[in-house]
Symmetry: C2
Subunit: 148 residues, 2 copies
Amino acid sequence: MSKLYLDDISAGDTFKSGDFEVTAQSIKEFAALWDPQVFHLDEVAAEDSFFNGLAASGWQTACITMRLLVTSGFTPVNGVIGAGIEELKWFRPVRPGDVLRAEMEVLEVRPMRSKPGYGICRMRVTTVDAAGEKVQVFTSPLVVQSKG
Amino acid sequence: MSKLYLDDISAGDTFKSGDFEVTAQSIKEFAALWDPQVFHLDEVAAEDSFFNGLAASGWQTACITMRLLVTSGFTPVNGVIGAGIEELKWFRPVRPGDVLRAEMEVLEVRPMRSKPGYGICRMRVTTVDAAGEKVQVFTSPLVVQSKG
């Protein structure tokens, strides 16, 4: 895939990722490392928890989304480099068997005064399930190299 | 540690986590799963990248912070359950050898109209290095059970 410079990207551009299937094993392995709480670690104990069953860490949904973003057709020349995250929201728990994909929309493209040769591409990243329902959304200002 | 209900938590309360040492192996293992980009995967190739050397995925810094948060003295009775993330910022790349810890401050405690018996504890979570310098900050509205 051809690499994108800031000059190649415009507000309104959209990109779609492939799919990621969430498994119980993946939920438990992620949780053991990064979010060791009972509702992410053990199916039986999770039944009596806030989530009423095994649920992925919200951070895993974010990480799955990053993986989908990085492996999609959106290929900035210097990589997918976020300066931060604005307003990340989770709409429902992610469960074993969920198949997720990411939909990206460029909201704004502007030069960066603090870093000549680079600009900001503000992107809304929506993670949806197989039915197309939103499970997560965030906006991120990405740092993208200019041609100049 | 005793479990905390919403009633036990007040704006201004602070909590501190233990330490987490970031290794090159951990950076590469995380990246292979969730953020497979060259500057997170390979020391040599990373030298010529945006980061001028191996750097952790920002999402890994977020995940390390969640691990520190969950294993700290802040122990809500229903678990550490974020409804979302407000304004996550990264201040510098995290490198092999960095030792991180999390500092939490409760900004606001309020009942939740949409979910009786629960409330929102808005918490600012600052991740610092061994010198106490900020590497990441985010605010998260946590869902915490009330006594009532």
